[in-house]
């Protein structure tokens, strides 16, 4: 069906004598991202839209198409449509899952398109021209270092993990390396699936089970929101502090206001999609080469620097 429609569009364009797309020095960039089903992907959608408006007004010769998919299969279809219908020159893709999308992205690459992969790496090396990602390992390490420092190298902590994936694994690995050799004891780790309700329930159970908790590594700001409410309910705010992660506006605001319960946050920004789009456009408009890897840092967000990471209009 899509091909038929494309043919019809071309036929119509030819009949009307419209100028061919390829003739002018114009660039079409396709952006394929997961639909806004979670807070973080909601942020990705918001920042992609912002970047599209900004880049298109800055560079009139660039046009950007954003597609969102709600599962890996749908995303693979999106990629085919972007190539066949939009005739894209570059693709910016944040893959739903690495495995199922490796081959569809490779086929886009084979069609001669400049490919930028964001956040989740593909399973085969050498497909993408540019790789933009946050650093999960560093995110875990920075969180661990902060907790280690605040507790002077000793204390009892609990950990709430995300959805069992490579991302979660890398973060936990980084965290454990950071506290290795200290007297910090992880009482337990349970999966809270980057979800508020799960965070609330797992934390309630930790609080019922352990009489003394010095710090909580929630790994994610959605989980942290649930943890905060559970701690408030138990009235144990003075006993511990919470370290989340990502950069959700609610949490950043607490950090800005100097909340003792949530003194810091660790950045893993959905705005990385904008970084990727910026760099991809630079490949066409700049005379500097844009290839390789661009790994964002995961800085500690403290009261002093929180303002630069605060986006009150973003849904995340």
């Amino acid at each position: 069906m899509p091909t038929k429609r494309t043919l019809a569009a071309f036929a119509a364009a030819a009949a009307l004598g419209l100028p061919s797309f390829a003739a002018a020095q114009e660039y079409t960039i396709g952006v394929s991202i997961p639909a806004a089903t979670h807070g973080w992907t909601g942020g990705v959608n918001f920042h992609a839209q912002q970047a599209k408006e900004r880049l298109e007004s800055l560079y009139p010769e660039v046009s950007i198409t954003i597609t969102t998919a709600s599962d890996p299969g749908g995303q693979a279809n999106d990629l085919e449509d972007l190539v066949s219908q939009r005739n894209i020159d570059a693709l910016v893709v944040l893959p739903f899952e690495s495995g199922p999308l490796t081959d569809p992205v490779r086929r886009v690459k084979d069609a001669g398109v400049f490919v930028t992969v964001v956040d989740r790496g593909l399973e085969q090396e050498g497909i993408e021209d540019l790789y933009v990602a946050g650093n999960n390992h560093e995110m875990g390490r920075v969180s661990g270092e902060y907790i280690r420092e605040q507790l002077d190298g000793q204390g009892d902590i609990v950990v709430l993990r995300g959805i069992p994936t490579v991302i979660d694994e890398e973060r936990v690995q980084g965290f454990q390396e950071a506290i290795e050799g200290s007297d910090i004891n992880i009482l337990d780790m349970q999966h809270a699936n980057w979800n508020r309700d799960d965070g609330f329930e797992v934390m309630q159970d930790y609080l019922a089970r352990f009489d003394r908790i010095d710090a909580v590594w929630a790994q994610d700001d959605d989980i942290a929101i649930g943890v905060i409410e559970a701690v408030r309910q138990a009235g144990r705010e003075d006993e511990l502090f919470i370290v989340g992660g990502a950069g959700m506006k609610d949490i950043i605001r607490r950090v800005m206001e100097g909340d003792d319960l949530v003194p810091v946050d660790v950045l893993y920004p959905p705005a990385m999609i904008a970084t990727a789009m910026d760099l991809t456009v630079q490949h066409f408009v700049s005379n500097g080469p844009v290839v390789g890897q661009y790994i964002l840092g995961s800085p500690l967000i403290t009261q002093e620097n929180a303002e630069q990471y605060y986006f009150p209009d973003s849904p995340f």
């Binding site: 806004a36 979670h38 909601g42 069992p164 508020r196 159970d205 089970r209 849904p315």
Partner: protein, 337 residues
């Protein structure tokens, strides 16, 4: 099984098996509780028990509604999305009412009223499309499930809707408060269960539900308004979802596309664990209550131990659910002719 009579009148069967059928869920609950204590004595802590019961209130209240729908031979897959959607609308409405009425009782009562109306309306739609449109409940509610889920994502702009902080402070006690030492959600759960029990076992409406679930054709010939009764079960389900949402919103003060995911399956599981028959004709409210508590208890116990790999939580849950239903059905099957 095609009895129209509710089960409080024991039929001529061996007494032991009838008892086990009725008490099966309770025995399973006790066994699970014993396991909990053995794994970690903190399980019996007053805080933990009250946390657990409070938590089970959401699924429990929804499952009581589902008991009616399933008993009357229907199915509602949309409850989780409906809860998320109602929570979203409630939050938006209350946030916008703050300017006019301030973060007081009026705002919250209006929010609660809107929630009940939405629940009633959503249930009415499910019921009407199922009965008048003559479409399978599975398909209708699968459709509305997708609709409500995407509507809440749309309302939240893909992110999270957050309740105004002023309103949150006033509303908070509805989840965190106590009355006579009992958490308010648990009280609501209990009241809904008692009301549901009376409605299902001691009213004409309840008997009609049993009759329709047993044999719709026969019920129709018996001059029962099948479409009307079935639609009413969906509306009852909607009200239950609204009630659950009313006590859910003050917990975290937020709603997003991730709210209430898979609640429909948990509610259905609670109903079945409790001894209600999935194909209809036989419902049991107290069983449903026990089923809901059991589901929450499994998660709670798994959080209280690190003996089992986190990756296997789903396996443990699945095994316990199947074993619980097997225990309850095994003796039943033997006694059947």
């Amino acid at each position: 099984m095609n009895r129209v009579v509710p089960d409080n009148k024991p039929v001529a069967r061996s007494h032991a098996s009838v008892d086990f059928k009725t008490w099966g869920p309770f025995v399973a609950l006790l066994a699970l509780a014993l396991l909990g204590v053995l794994i970690n004595p903190a399980f019996l802590g007053l805080d933990n028990l009250s946390n657990m019961l409070t938590r089970s209130a959401f699924i429990g209240i929804i499952a009581i509604g589902a008991t009616f729908v399933i008993t009357a031979g229907g199915l509602d897959l949309s409850v989780g999305s409906m809860a998320a959607f109602i929570a979203g609308v409630m939050i938006i409405l209350m946030n916008s009412l703050v300017e006019q009425f301030g973060p007081g009782l009026t705002t919250i009562l209006l929010g609660i009223g809107a929630s009940l109306l939405l629940g009633l309306g959503a249930g009415f739609i499910n019921g009407m499309v199922t009965t008048k449109g003559k479409i399978e409940a599975f398909i209708v509610t699968l459709g509305t499930m997708g609709i409500y889920r995407s509507l809440v994502t749309y309302l939240a702009d893909g992110g999270t809707l957050s309740l105004d902080w002023g309103v949150r402070d006033v509303y908070r006690p509805v989840y965190y408060g106590h009355l006579m030492g009992i958490p308010i959600p648990v009280l609501v759960f209990l009241l809904v269960a008692v009301a549901g029990y009376i409605l299902l076992n001691h009213t004409r409406f309840g008997r009609y539900c049993f009759a329709i679930g047993s044999n719709e054709r026969v019920a129709e010939y018996s001059a029962i308004h099948v479409d009307r009764i079935k639609t009413m079960t969906y509306m009852l389900q909607g009200v239950c979802v609204a009630l659950a949402t009313i006590i859910y919103v003050p917990r975290l003060g937020s709603a997003s596309g991730a709210t209430g995911v898979l609640w429909e399956l948990e509610a259905i599981a609670a109903v079945i664990i409790g001894g209600t028959v999935l194909k209809g004709g036989h419902g049991r409210i107290w069983g449903t209550v026990v089923g809901a508590i059991m589901l929450t208890m499994i998660g709670n116990i798994l959080n209280l131990t690190d003996a089992i790999s986190n990756y296997l939580n789903g396996t443990v849950q699945g095994i316990i659910i199947i074993v619980a239903v097997y225990l309850q059905r095994a003796s039943w099957r033997k006694s059947a002719p």
